[in-house]
Symmetry: D2
Subunit: 337 residues, 4 copies
């Protein structure tokens, strides 16, 4: 961390700053120029609150040099983290395909969809039981009943199940869920992240609509700091000024997350674009960019879906997409599943 | 709601669409042109999920005409909602000033700050007991103990207290809190919003960092739909490409919220800017734009604050700010308190 | 400027870096820690291209400490710049109100509008002769003829005229224009900025839709570096994710520009919001935030306007707005004109 | 275009609106509901200015249904436009690779770089002679001399040359340039677009930093409306809140532009990311997403580059990138060159 002192700062204030930092165990390196005077702060500065430090009159500006995330940092853990989900490995160079409907709507719907995505080659099943909806008047999910239906679908297909949690108090319902998803709107629900840090299940952590890559890593750090090291990061589109797509898929985030962190990276082309005709080109591009996992919405009957119909593939179009995903995985030397 | 049909849509698909909508109780008005064919859907369309409807092949585009929010809509409730907080009225044309530290840190700190903001003219006291922090290694708040200290400060000063809730499971601790704040990161924590809809306390709902004005209104709708009509909307800066300020204060949102909704509107110049020298000009501008309430961070000793020091005013500078707020309130015909 | 060296950087590379910087006349201050090694670069670093420097393998990160703008910087020129526009002073604490139509459409239209805004209290007249339009099929302005009509309106009302230039090659037409406006889309048209740097007229420089405050200052620096020191900075709304307003008025930019620079600051509530009912509250707020000048669109007959009708005030509503602007100016101790 | 009438609109105003639209040749289809009354406007509405129409009191809201772009629209021209650049075809399913330095700096530099990118497999040469720089104190390019050096490099290597124009008045210098680039900051320099519409050369039109996909298409429409139909659209990263990458590469825009328009699409991974380690994964992803052309910065000696050093590949790393681009092109059935 580098502190730029304000020109004409009172020497007593600067001395107080020095002492406070040294008392907290930091080593200081000073550089006094004619125009600028700097203090380099050496040590584990991740616990320093820059905003607070900046309240001191003698300080002009502070730059953090070290990354504030540690456990998720590839520098601290150079090898890829590999997460085992009922025998399927995430993060070892293979490619996992999560498919399924936006919401679990009925036994028939989830089982029919599960069977067809399994046939087409998906390796995990998704389906929302608790649905975060902008409007209180929209379908809110089948909740506990939806969880039960997912388990039935798993019994029938053998596909591990992925579903979203919306609050700590629902955790008991997730004890037998294979991957617990944290949605974009909850990426900084720190209460929930802390609870998941103590829960022994893989977590699929979606990037918030306007969260930076660093904030996503810090949210993963919350879970890891709690003791749970099975975190999968997920890019799902960010909010920008562009309105032609629902969100803007930040594909460079996928490659960058793989470089900055050892955690596996997933991407969700369905939510990122909201446009059916973009799902195939984006899925293939994401594989090339290094995604370990894709999450794709498929519904046995999108026209009658209770949520997000427009971006859900039919089983037929998903099957055709999987053929191209297979070819691309092959070309990239990646095994599906 | 207006549906633009795709050119060359199959007549059978269009007929199916017509029937489905009529079965849901909507009246249809069709307009068939040489280039474009439209179906106007008349009725309460707020429960229609546009994304799902759009899954139908026969549809090119859908535009929602009616606003999706109802209970918060000024059209449905032309008079200002006035909320009583221990005798202080919010929303009746008066001006309320919430002041206090970012975090409650100690008995001495909160009481000393409370006494001085009271003297300077603040009408409510803020202080964070549960703190949403980007880093798991940063100070997380005194939690239940912080709540107790706020009550002590209220006993001494008589100021109503405002503090943030981070999860439904903490609600029992908030039974004696005067205004419960929902932070920007929880604006779409729908579980929490639903729980607050059944809690009998005024809610200060902060706009998410990248939430639209409509989404803020929809989150307020969640609380009102649950039965709690005491919601105060709060603009606190949005995330944009600009980095010189911490966030971008969307002052036009304040005026617009007053026009679109009957709910009182608060604004937080401290978080919106993150820059001390901007707090006074922004506070005064916000009063002019129509804010019913301001929330301003004040700390008895910002240099030693455990969070957000840089944007917290000293009691002295807050006192000087209050003099100018008083003059502006006078000029605008607003009574403080 | 501070350079953080990469851990394990080759000593020869670092030595080369040192020599190159010293050869360019900079003084270096080094600080070698166990974790981090820094080089502070002292001198006028505004000509250093950070992107290029960063190509060196031995460098991890570079932070610029000094602001890259000089002539526009208040640190270099603490007193307000005051610009004389036909006897009206901009930047001396007074308040100037530019009013007029989006486009000059006809002699009758511009003169009728000019006479009424003069009567209502405007101090300058605006009107677009060259119009930057998103669509090539939209009205593009009367061009040279529009300039002539503006001069007629000035002859009749005595109001100085403000109009937009779109390209260097049109400069000869602007020799008798009182204030030359550079539109948001041309804020980084550096050819034009250079040409205006050598033109002896006040320039009203509008902030680009997604230009940072620093970039706006750098564009003003281009004009000043060319020799023209009469630049007025103008906030006119930035592009964000919010769609309810046309743009997002960044009111804190107005206060911040006044702090960072000695140049006068204008604001344009008409383009910033695009909503008639917001023009009055935003105009008054902007005065409070420190704007030296407001630019407001007024049209004698908005319903028949050839461009931007929806945000143009009628003469009657402008007159009523001016009454409130007068009261606010009075309260703030500002003289109009 | 659909007009939603305001509830309680004066019948005389609505009648006036009907007549004005009919007088302009539009056919109207009305739909009067209990809650909402609509007028559908049928005809070529691309010349209607929505902002002006909206000034009428009787109108609540207007939605444009038809796309405002015509000549660039794939609906009007289903086949791919193919542009011939000295025998190389752009847009016919092949892949063109433009490579070269950010700026032309010297004869030795441009020729050495040109020879090496040719050897590595690039099919066109880029190099900036006129440089748009944020700071007036930064290197501004060799201008006319730079153009001459590019031609020399073309003579030696046979590679067609691509270089940026900054103003209409420089056009005579571009008569022998193979592809004229319009930079992001000039995407809405309408004077320049109009001039290029009458110039008989292929134009590489870069998307503005915060320009929507629709605005990019409208700027291309300007050039085509002038008579020049050889336009190549270029995605080069947009400005968002994310700061870890220089810009955010909007890869879905590449696929979407190919769907919406018949024009060829280029992408620039160098400017989009500003990070060397992202150039390869993004280049390969962009090919998969459907880009017809990539523009990649390569410098014979990035450490001594006069601009943008950090994102310029060395000839060696470009050569290694080209090997992977070749494999991907092969896999996708695309011929380079």
């Amino acid at each position: 961390m580098i502190i730029l002192l304000r020109r004409g700062a009172a020497p007593a204030d600067v001395q107080k700053l020095r002492e406070d930092l040294q008392n907290r165990g930091f080593t200081l390196h000073e550089s006094t120029g004619t125009l600028e005077s700097l203090i380099g702060v050496i040590g584990d500065t991740s616990a320093i609150d820059i905003n607070t430090l900046q309240a001191r009159d003698c300080i002009e500006r502070i730059s953090r040099i070290a990354e504030p995330y540690k456990k998720v940092n590839r520098k601290m853990h150079p090898d890829n983290t590999v997460i085992d989900v009922r025998g399927r490995k995430v993060g070892n160079g293979s490619l996992q395909i999560i498919a399924g409907p936006c919401s679990v709507e009925s036994e028939e719907q989830i089982i029919s969809t599960a069977v067809s995505v399994k046939e087409a080659g998906a390796t995990m099943l998704r389906g929302g039981a608790f649905k975060p909806r902008t409007s209180p008047y929209a379908f809110q999910g089948l909740e506990a009943n939806g969880i039960d239906l997912l388990k039935k679908a798993r019994d029938i297909t053998g596909l591990p199940i992925v579903t979203e949690i919306m609050g700590e108090e629902d955790l008991p319902l997730f004890e037998d869920i294979d991957v617990i998803q944290v949605g974009a709107r909850n990426m900084q629900n720190f209460k929930l992240l802390k609870a998941l840090g103590k829960f022994n299940k893989p977590i699929l952590l979606k990037r918030g609509l306007s969260s930076t890559i660093e904030e996503l890593l810090m949210s993963a750090e919350y879970i890891m700091a709690g003791g749970n090291s099975e975190v999968i990061l997920c890019e799902r589109g960010i909010r920008t000024f562009e309105t032609m797509t629902r969100n803007t898929l930040d594909i460079s985030a996928v490659s960058l997350l793989k470089q900055k962190s050892h955690l596996p990276v997933c991407a969700d082309p369905s939510h990122a674009t909201g446009i059916l005709s973009l799902i195939e080109p984006m899925s293939l591009s994401l594989i090339v960019a290094g995604a370990d996992m894709l999450e794709i919405e498929v519904h046995c009957n999108p026209v009658n879906a209770l949520s997000d119909g427009a971006q859900q593939l039919t089983p037929t179009s998903f099957s055709s997409l999987m053929q191209n995903i297979n070819k691309m995985a092959d070309f990239m030397g990646r095994n599906i599943g």
